[in-house]
Symmetry: C2
DNA sequence: AGCATTATTGAAAATGCTTACATTTTGCGC
DNA sequence: GCGCAAAATGTAAGCATTTTCAATAATGCT
């Protein structure tokens, strides 16, 4: 009756109950074919009767694989990676993989600690979302001996795959349009949190400027903390007014929106405001902010799909998977 | 040179390298004391030299525990549970537990599939965040034979713990204040997604009304989808005007805010708008919405801490952990 | 019926660790 | 030096699977 009396049921119990050897039971649960239908039925009946659930840990030991993959993400913004995780988990479910979640704050030794942990757990693979990896972090990661997929961050690690959106091209096309119309007072406001992404973005913008025979110097660096950045922007827009203000995330774009308004700058009449990354916030702001819609769910789903391919030994022809973005014009831009 | 030549290093390799038995190595890595300092040094040198990392899978098999706990969350709003996850992971890191992530959509058989998966993986415990469990889901969960902690949802399952915020009391106190001032035209707008939470909230409000000799009937049900609800609210506020509008999440409160504005209702001059749950959205809206600040991070951290206690066999005196909320008055209320 | 195949099954080793128990070493008092 | 307890180390039996290889049963053919 009591829980403690309930004895654990192993493959032996099942073998015993069905009157076969444990090897046969193993064959049945792994669907390996060569078992007579009759005995298969007996075994399956025993499994149901005893409520047997194969022990994945023992399987992991015997098979030298865990069907577990480790996901490493920054601990800050689940706001932006929520959809990525959803996509990833959906695909993981299809292929019967489990996901372990690991977050990195920015402390120095953190990454190697996490990796140590992942190595011990013998995950079959690692998926990393991190827009800004330091050199030492990259180095640690490169020493990893398991399949790796990077999301949103193109690496030079030859043995891993990358799933990302080409911000550079996206911004190039956007800015190009403005320049074609003769609008060239464009700035981008950002903090230093994501140096890689920022440099991609700026390279795209710069290319557009160069092709128009101009030089881009509109990078305005803002403080990292939201409230600080808010103050900074408030101060900034009390002195400046531009045709176009681009920011990395819609949360920052909203700060731009609010501070512009507080300084008598009308959006979009006086200034176009654009956000590169979109999140649910944007549903709730008026005016809605024109932005690129990043296919977050697809990023996650594709990353996981690529991972399964790597693990199945399917040859992955492509190391790089570039996803499309869509620019959505909303109420914060007039052009 | 090549990776394929690299042979795996096990506890045997280390024992061999150090010239001791594997038992001794095991004692060293588990810090079990009774090893002479001298041999301990030898072993540790060998570990470093070979780059040995204990295989957690084999350990799991030998010890019958995985130091892994499974986290089950709804697949929808990482917006609200991001901080919970952060708190949970931080504590998990301290106690060296790994977290596997499982999401539930609302499909019927999903929960038992997830549980099947978790049982197979032999997680040491399960933490569940889900505001609305169906009866059949609860039943499946109750049959679980591992320690469980529920976040934000008080269950009657005797063998599990609950970590939650008492919405009923929170709303009681809030509404009480209004009623004391003679303001009683209060409504709450919500969809049916979280029946449990909603009924808690309404019970709190009702209690306040009753103590003032009145009856509460201000529950306005709105459609689940954001855009539908937006239309609904727009229509609604073209016909109604109330002293106070309460909604469950700040995303909905923003919809209220916007639709009020579009119908010429000024906030807070004409109507107070209040949100029960707070998220980062609220930083970005003007006016900021008065809301309860739910201690999300603490919910997650405490849940994990309670779990570690259950797993260590420390007696958990309390099954229920009620956390405090703070009501923050912001610009969307005048009262 | 007898033999050669082939389809099923079982026995046992392997997976990498922990730990109870056995054995060896050490230290100490005389 | 000797004896004995305590400390240190080693041996081997689990832990729950998979899988190779050998053994057995079933089948087809003459």
């Amino acid at each position: 009756m009591s829980n403690s009396e309930k004895k654990k049921v192993t493959i032996y119990s099942v073998a015993n109950e069905a009157g076969v050897s444990l090897a046969t039971v193993s064959r049945v649960i792994n669907d390996s074919g060569l078992v007579k239908q009759e005995t298969k039925d007996k075994v399956e009946a025993a499994i149901v009767k005893l409520g047997y659930r194969p022990n994945a840990v023992a399987q992991g030991l015997a098979l030298k694989k865990t069907t577990t993959i480790a996901l490493v993400v920054p601990d800050s913004s689940f706001l932006y990676i929520g959809k990525i995780i959803n996509g990833l988990l959906d695909v993981a479910k299809i292929y019967k993989y489990n996901i372990t979640l690991h977050t990195t704050s920015s402390s120095i030794n953190e990454m190697s600690e996490i990796i140590d942990n992942i190595v011990k757990s013998r995950a079959d693979g690692v998926i990393i979302y991190n827009e800004s990896l330091s050199n030492s972090e990259s180095e640690v990661l490169n020493s990893f001996q398991v399949p790796m997929v990077y999301i949103g961050h193109k690496t030079t690690n030859l043995s891993s795959c990358n799933v990302y959106v080409d911000y550079s091209q996206a911004l190039y096309e956007l800015v190009n349009e403005y320049l074609d119309k003769g609008i060239d007072d464009i700035i981008i406001v950002e903090d230093r949190k994501n140096p890689d992404t920022i440099s991609q973005i700026i390279s795209g913008i710069s290319r557009a400027y160069e092709e128009h025979g101009k030089k881009f110097d509109g990078y305005v660096e803002i403080p990292e903390q939201y409230h600080n950045s808010y103050e900074f922007l408030n101060e900034y827009f009390s002195r400046h007014k531009h045709d176009v203000v681009i920011s990395m995330r819609d949360s920052q774009a909203v700060a731009v929106l609010n501070t512009c308004r507080e300084n008598g700058i009308r959006v979009p009449e006086d200034t176009d405001v654009i956000s590169v990354l979109d999140s649910r916030i944007n549903d709730m702001v008026r005016p809605r902010i024109s932005s690129f819609v990043i296919p977050s769910y697809d990023l996650g789903a594709l990353a996981m799909r690529v991972m399964t391919k790597m693990l199945n030994g399917e040859t992955v022809k492509e190391r790089d998977y570039k996803l499309n973005y869509i620019y959505e014009r909303k109420a914060s831009t007039k052009n």
